[in-house]
């Protein structure tokens, strides 16, 4: 039986001491109490479970993976060697990445991952670790390497998992947002920090455009990636400086629209999740959905995982539920 869910420290210790391979999310002080083992973790205290979405400071969320310890390796990467995540990954398997929010590795992965050779033929999922919303900017998000006991605030921590020949990893996303009927917005350059945009063919200052159109920046920019809806969320707008800060980069050559409003996030996620991927081995969702969608106490479907500061499904995503399934081939 693979453990998955919000566990007390005693329960988590028992699971990890048994040799289970796991991904763990929790508060810094709780992760520090866990034993050495075949796990990686990151700071996060907001969670989704089939029963409800919640904040917890006395439990950790353990996602046990149905794999053997011998098939797992754990590596950390600094911002300059992140492309090695792809080359170090097993030919058949998957990789789970945890990166501290705001770290150099976070910023570089966000901007450069789509350009890494082989990225999209390497199943990579993961999340950006964070802190309590009351501690933003004052406490550093962390990752934890269960094998070494090392904690880290600047590097990406990765668990590479090899799968047997007759198994394969499949990544899917659930995104309740759709591009609205408003302006088509493009950008002259890639970036997490944006000044100019191109609206219906005209170059505009993006911050002023958002102000003039009274845009609801709780709604993400949505791009249609050949049928997949991919979000980029707003972090802050410096109207005086004419700068917009984003949680994931926009890319030049891609067309975006501000999403249509979603009235009931919980219902929208339950509908998007549906009955599919009930056996997902790993899942994560976005803290912005938790906050903007007022998900505290509400169930959003049969998914278990952390509500994070950014989701990774190959590249960095925002306001999206990411799942990894292990399927027979």
């Amino acid at each position: 039986m693979v453990a998955k869910g919000l566990l007390t420290i005693a329960e988590a210790i028992e699971v990890l001491d048994s040799g289970a391979v796991a991904i763990v999310a929790g508060a810094d002080e709780l992760l520090g109490k866990l034993p050495r083992g075949n796990w990686i973790g990151g700071t996060m205290r907001y969670f989704m479970t089939p029963e409800r979405s919640c904040e917890s400071t006395d439990r950790v969320l353990v996602t046990g993976l149905p794999v053997a310890p011998a098939d797992v390796t754990i590596h950390s990467y600094d911002a300059h060697d992140l492309s090695r995540i792809v080359t170090d990954a097993p030919e058949n398997g998957f990789s789970v990445v945890i990166i501290p929010a705001g770290s150099p590795a976070h910023l570089v992965y966000a901007a450069r991952a789509p350009y890494y050779p082989g990225l999209f033929r390497t199943p990579i999922v993961g999340w950006i670790s964070g802190v309590s919303l009351q501690e933003l900017g004052t406490v550093a998000p962390l990752t934890f390497d269960g094998q070494t006991g090392h904690r880290e605030s600047g590097r990406a921590l990765v668990m590479h998992v090899r799968l047997p020949e007759k198994k394969a990893a499949r990544i899917s996303i659930s995104n309740p947002f759709r591009g609205g009927s408003g302006d088509k917005i493009a950008f002259p350059a890639d970036g997490l920090t944006v000044t100019d945009c191109i609206v219906n063919g005209e170059i505009r200052n993006f911050a002023r455009y958002l102000a003039e159109t009274s845009a609801d920046t709780r709604l993400p920019l949505v791009a249609d990636y050949a049928g997949a809806q991919v979000n980029t969320s707003f972090q802050s707008i410096d109207l005086a400086g004419g700068i917009v800060h984003l949680y994931a980069p926009v890319f030049s050559g891609i067309e975006y629209r501000i999403a249509e409003p979603v009235k009931d996030y919980a219902r929208a996620f339950r509908k998007a999740v549906g009955e599919s991927h009930r056996d997902a081995a790993f899942a994560c969702n976005c803290i912005l959905n938790y906050v903007y969608g007022e998900l505290e106490g509400k169930p959003i479907g049969h998914v278990t995982g952390p509500m994070t500061f950014g989701e990774i499904a190959y590249q960095l995503l925002n306001q999206t539920l990411v799942r990894l399934s292990i399927v027979d081939v």
């Binding site: 789509p114 350009y115 050779p117 082989g118 999209f120 033929r121 199943p123 499949r170 990544i171 899917s172 996303i173 791009a223 990636y225 050949a226 049928g227 997949a228 991919v230 890319f251 030049s252 050559g253 891609i254 499904a313 190959y314 590249q315 081939v329």
Partner: protein
């Protein structure tokens, strides 16, 4: 084709619509079994329908249809998240920089993807090359 003990080889027959697998069972029979004069060889044969992708045989990188595809000039509806993301990035990167080295880099990326996922990419490959 030379099979060593225990090895397996696959060949496509009848215009690639069927796949013939030969598995050398010599190793299963003990060391030196095949070396004895007059000893019959032990080979398992199996014949099965090749996948759509296998039947198509993924073209080499210099096939001009890759360029057309990478430019986004082919109607294409990928079915997996990975393919949707890859295709979108390839098209935008090739349109922004249509130089030969850049096109070559992204065509190799596309081909590498389909080679890895050949067994489950029949529908996509048929849209590009069918």
């Amino acid at each position: 084709m030379i099979l060593q003990g225990g090895q397996e080889a696959r060949v496509r027959v009848l215009d690639g619509t069927l796949e013939l697998t030969l598995h050398d069972r010599t190793a299963d029979l003990g060391a030196g079994a095949a070396s004895r004069a007059g000893q019959s060889l032990a080979v398992d044969l199996s014949l099965r329908t090749a996948t759509a992708a296998a039947a198509l045989q993924i073209p080499p990188v210099d096939d001009p249809r890759w360029l057309e595809f990478a430019r986004g000039d082919v109607a294409f509806e990928p079915s997996t998240l990975a393919c949707q993301m890859l295709f979108t990035h390839v098209v935008r990167c090739v349109r922004q920089d249509p130089s030969s080295p850049n096109v070559d880099r992204w065509v190799r990326e596309l081909r590498g993807f389909f080679v890895k996922y050949e067994a489950v990419s029949g529908a996509e490959l048929a849209q590009i090359f069918g």
